[in-house]
């Protein structure tokens, strides 16, 4: 390198650094071009992008599979529970019918007779006043007024209206 060249290079460097000091590196086209154009950097970027995409896809696929498998398991559980519910409903029905059968009056009466009971007669009854005991359910009194049938015709309504409309003070 000659002295002249050296001077030129120094000048170029000074100019470069002078201009560079007033701008961000990313806006320095020379440096940015130098990095961008580096082959190893382009390859790294591509590989990284693909890797990230692959990871995201695998994650999404995994999540979908997990959810699908959980949904299928839940579906199977629901099916099993529905069958169990039907069976239990039938079982409850059957047990209720058995209880009702065991509680039927012919059976109870037969058992009571076996135990020596007999139907009570009025003469054997003794009635006492027990405070607070409401007694056998009382019969509700019949309504004393009958709801009249609506049988008014237009003519009778008109006559009634006329008779009341023209009364003094009415």
């Amino acid at each position: 390198m000659t002295h002249k060249n050296l001077k030129g290079a120094k000048k170029a460097m000074r100019t470069f650094f002078q201009s560079a000091s007033s701008r961000p590196i990313a806006q320095i086209p020379e440096i940015s071009r130098a990095f961008r154009q580096a082959p190893w950097r382009v390859q790294t970027q591509a590989i990284t992008t693909l890797a990230v995409l692959a990871v995201v896809m695998v994650a999404l696929g995994g999540m979908y599979l997990t959810e699908a498998s959980k949904a299928a398991t839940a579906g199977r559980d629901v099916q099993a529970l529905q069958i169990q519910k039907s069976q239990l409903t039938l079982e409850v029905d059957r047990l209720e019918a058995q209880i009702a059968e065991a509680n039927s009056l012919p059976r109870l009466e037969a058992r009571a007779r076996e135990l020596g009971y007999v139907p009570a007669q009025p003469a054997q009854m003794e009635f006492l006043v027990v405070k607070g005991y409401p007694g056998a359910p009382t019969v509700a009194a019949a309504p004393t007024t009958e709801v009249p049938n609506y049988d008014e015709t237009l003519g009778t309504w008109l006559a009634r209206w006329l008779s009341t409309a023209f009364q003094p003070g009415g």
Partner: protein, 575 residues
Amino acid sequence: MVEAIRGRLRFMLGIFGVLIGLIVIRLVSLQFGSSVIFFEEQYQQATGYRVEITPPRGRILDRHGELLATNDVQYAIGLSPDFITDSEDLARTLAAVLTRPYDEMLVLTDTTNRTEDSPKYILVQRPVPADIGEKLLALKSEENGPDLRGLLVEPIQTRAYPGGKSAAQLLGFVGYDNKGYYGVEEFYDDLLAGHSVVGIKQVVPFDVALNPAPDHGADLYLTIDRDIQFVAEQVLASAVQTYGAESGTIIVMEPKTGRILSMANYPSFDPNNFLNEPEALRNNPAVGAQFEPGSGFKILTMAAALQSGIITPQSTYLDTGYIEVGGVGITNWNQSAWGPQDMTGLLQHSLNVGSAWLSTKMGPGTFYDYMEAFGVGQPTNIDLSGEAAGHLKRPGDSDWYESDLGTNSFGQGVATTPVQLITAIAAVANGGAMMQPHVLERVVDEEATHITQPQVLGRPISTDVANQLAVMLAASLELEASKALVPGYRMAGKTGTAEIPIPGGYDREKTIASFVGWGPIDDPKFIVLVKLDKPGASRWGANTAAPAFGELVKRLVVLMEIPPDEVRHQLAAGQ
């Protein structure tokens, strides 16, 4: 050159863009358009099938919550012949479990002569009890058990009536189509059955979703008292046997509300086994059987006469033992003359001549107007299926004759049903107000409880007339020392003995004996109708239906906790 290639590329890109756009539009239309339903159905057909989800039928309970009808499980045993692999093993197992002949089973399971047209399903037995069905299911799931491929064991929901024959005609039954027939089951079928929904049974677990829930059938609480029903049936069965009757009916009702406490019929049938029971027994004679009420009808004639003012309780007439109405001679039950009689005597001796005298004195217009006001010849509209209307001829009808005015007054030539008669007479017990008879106390569904309120059907007579007549009837029972009387309790009532109409006249041998009575007369808690058809021991209601009434009331006052009058008055005075 480069420009040309770029142009072609843009053209191709445009075409692909348009195609992709069309595909997107089509996809959107498929996803959200009108064809969605079609594809949905196609998908569901491929992955599941429609099922009708039937809710459990509502139960029927008595007024105290005791079960009268509930649901049970039985099984239907069938065969799917295309899947049978060992017909002999299958026949052997079925024969052993169902206790049926092996040869008979082998005919069903044999698949050697099957053709394309052969049925895909063969019913072996339905219903079979739950324990047998479950035994077959257990055998089917045994690893080293018999080869039962092709055997179908399906649970079926059935109706169970724990009381058996008790209240059978009142309750009705449910067929295998899950529909109610006769009685309460038919009348309230809509309420009891609920509403089915259509759901999808998914085969693919991934798609399983909860189906919509059907509306459950409502539980019905009846006005029936199971204990009173049981006792009424016992007394009725005993009376039918004791007096050699063909059949009978007892109704117990609250006169103040119209609530039916018991509706007993004899003979009855077992609704648990309705297929094997005589079909004729399914009808409820208490509401569906028309009969000529006989002398019990005199209560209504007397009520009409008192209300119309043509007589008072003290009025008298001379009973000559014969009266002619419309050219037809009417005599008393014993063909005798009873001399001077007051109105209580008329009722006490059940005098046809006196009764015809009252109706002719009233005249047809007044008499039939009152009978109509009592609901004679009209359905009561009780909430039970199969009610008959009865029949009341009126002047102007083609089949009415002047003589009917006389015979109708003592319950001949007029047809009522037991429930119609007790409803009409209950008006006298209830101070003149006639109440709507009903058997439904309340409806309990998933959302609310609906209570049936008593309803007044009409007021054919005044309270004063009703009270006068009740006292007259009580006195008439006491004077004749009726077998209906129960010591300690003052009751009113009237016997009835009606000849049975046959073509060309009346059967002189057979009668319908009845008794209608209520008590205690100062605070009526019950009214009872006892009707015995064709009693052999005696043709008179006084000797058959009246003692049955007394027998029932003795048990009734205990069940209803009604103290004797004296005790009741003391208790009332002490409180």
